[in-house]
Symmetry: C2
Subunit: 173 residues, 2 copies
């Protein structure tokens, strides 16, 4: 059985839009999507970027994120056909760890705790396919890397890009 590794943030969970919604409600300021290359945090007004980082480590932020459209249905099928692991670079934000496990239990109940990896560096993890929004994770992967489309990776070249979960299904199912 081939092994598929799937990232969480910006792939199955949507922290960017959760942050934008929270920020707009709090400050009523606009977000500049054209500045997001490399990190969506760059799209927020510069003086508020440290606060965005603080918010990422607040207990509860990762607990109630929106789920990416169609990801539940497609991952349920992938879970039958492949050995599936969710791999999230999360140890930078210790308060996110339990939230992430509970969010997965809520939204992807077919994924067991045995299939979850919370780490700081994905170079350690091997598999046949990796779906991720960051080139820093894809570039060292020894299997087939797929770039999941995100606001912060619009200019990235050199990877097969999957724009939505329908395209993931077409690639893997």
């Amino acid at each position: 059985m081939k092994r598929v590794l799937v990232d969480m943030d910006e792939v199955i969970a949507d922290p960017m839009n959760a942050m934008i919604e929270w920020y707009k409600e709090k400050y009523d300021r606009e977000i500049d999507y054209s500045k997001m290359e490399g990190s969506w945090a760059f799209g927020f007004p510069e003086e508020h970027q440290p606060m965005i980082r603080t918010r990422l480590n607040e207990p509860g932020f990762f607990r109630h994120l929106p789920v990416m459209k169609d990801s539940q249905r497609v991952l349920a099928e992938i879970n039958k056909k492949y050995e599936l692991f969710i791999v999230s670079a999360a140890t930078e934000f210790p308060n996110s760890l339990k939230d992430k496990i509970e969010w997965l239990e809520d939204n992807f109940s077919f994924i067991s705790w045995k299939q979850v990896v919370l780490c700081g560096d994905k170079r350690l993890c091997v598999g046949d396919y990796l779906i991720d929004d960051h080139t820093k994770n894809l570039m060292h992967f020894t299997g087939k890397p797929y770039l999941y489309n995100a606001a912060h990776n619009q200019t990235v070249q050199g990877y097969d890009r999957l724009n939505n979960w329908e395209e993931v299904a077409q690639a893997l199912l």
Copy 2:
């Protein structure tokens, strides 16, 4: 630079002795070390084993564990000579996750969050050496596995056994 993976519980941290101390204080009952093969939890009176499991997922249990003798000094040296990762099968106990990160920060401050992996299944992780007390983790490892001596693995054969951190230093430094 070669990569060393090191387990946490029973290798650098001592949950077994923390649990025994807590249990004896609470119940004043004896522990049967001869029944621990496979899991140290088996050494506790049978009627209390479910409670031992509950205690493992209580917030704070993994936060203040004793540190294994000499592990700080030897790992600091290993960290200079190798690419070091701490790999802990921890996602079964969501309340342990943040505790484990903070325990590492307190006791192994030279290890960054980038060097930590909290997972459910270590088959995913590759490296040149793995030091672990469980054969279920060692048996799939593609590098050189070392069995770290523990009360629950006394009859295990077929692995090079490291009895303490002095022996780890002799093997790797």
